[in-house]
Symmetry: C2
Subunit: 152 residues, 2 copies
């Protein structure tokens, strides 16, 4: 396990943008107790999965993230939180933090989009490392960075 020691800032998903005929989509995270925020480019599959979570739409058969979540729950585990821990070469690195029945936490390396797709299903907390947030925040003016915030 690798738990960073720096402050972890609670964030929320505030926007999801889906464009037809594009292999890249994006979402936007905003600070829960502040005005900082930033976008993350994600894949189309993960964007559609997050859209299904937000709209409560379930396909006839479970898709990959639902399979992962049901597997975790069948083994008595809980999705504790999503942590975006690092930024290297313009790529975000994240962890899905699981809690075992005996209370032990395990951090599973993940893409942010996968961790968010799972975490949003259970409404867990989303944390971003302070240094990552400071490096990518798009609200340098101090204004809310979101043109059209939605409370997803």
């Amino acid at each position: 396990m690798d738990f960073p020691n720096e402050p972890q800032i609670p964030m929320r998903l505030c926007n999801l943008f889906l464009r037809d005929n594009s292999s890249q989509q994006w979402l936007q995270l905003a600070e829960v107790d502040g005005t900082r925020g930033f976008p993350i480019v994600i894949g189309t599959n993960e964007a559609h999965e997050i859209q299904r979570v937000l709209t409560g739409t379930e396909p006839p058969r479970p898709m990959t993230h639902q399979l992962a979540l049901e597997s975790i729950q069948a083994l008595g585990g809980q999705v504790e939180r999503v942590a975006i821990t690092d930024l290297k070469d313009n790529t975000f690195y994240a962890q899905l933090i699981l809690r075992t029945p005996d209370g032990t936490e395990h951090a599973i390396e993940s893409r942010p989009s996968d961790a968010l797709a799972l975490g949003l299903r259970v409404g867990c907390e989303i944390h971003v490392a302070e240094s990552v947030l400071e490096a990518v925040r798009t609200d340098q003016s101090g204004q809310d960075p979101l043109d059209d915030p939605k409370d997803f």
Copy 2:
């Protein structure tokens, strides 16, 4: 849990076909101790994931199926087998069978492609219900149905 009572036939993946610019790919399963086989149409994402497993190619960050497998293993679970259990309206239904640390089995509903992508990572058994295999087998002549079998 829903474990079917009919015979479950051990199968193996014998071919994976990837076509550029197509949203549908397919794989072929063959009976381990026999000559029956059939194809399954799968999505491009899952086909690429299975290709990564077969070729031992790991992307820089874990993709969705790897995240699912690492989550299962972090919770002490094992992927026991993949079972293709049903066919309705030309759609296959499958289960990923997990074993908990205390030996209990849990069947998680899944698309065949997702279950196979996970199961192939650990080399678990692949079972297909006898009635499903009989309904879709493409070897009615009794010959091996595979034009160019590969031992994946």
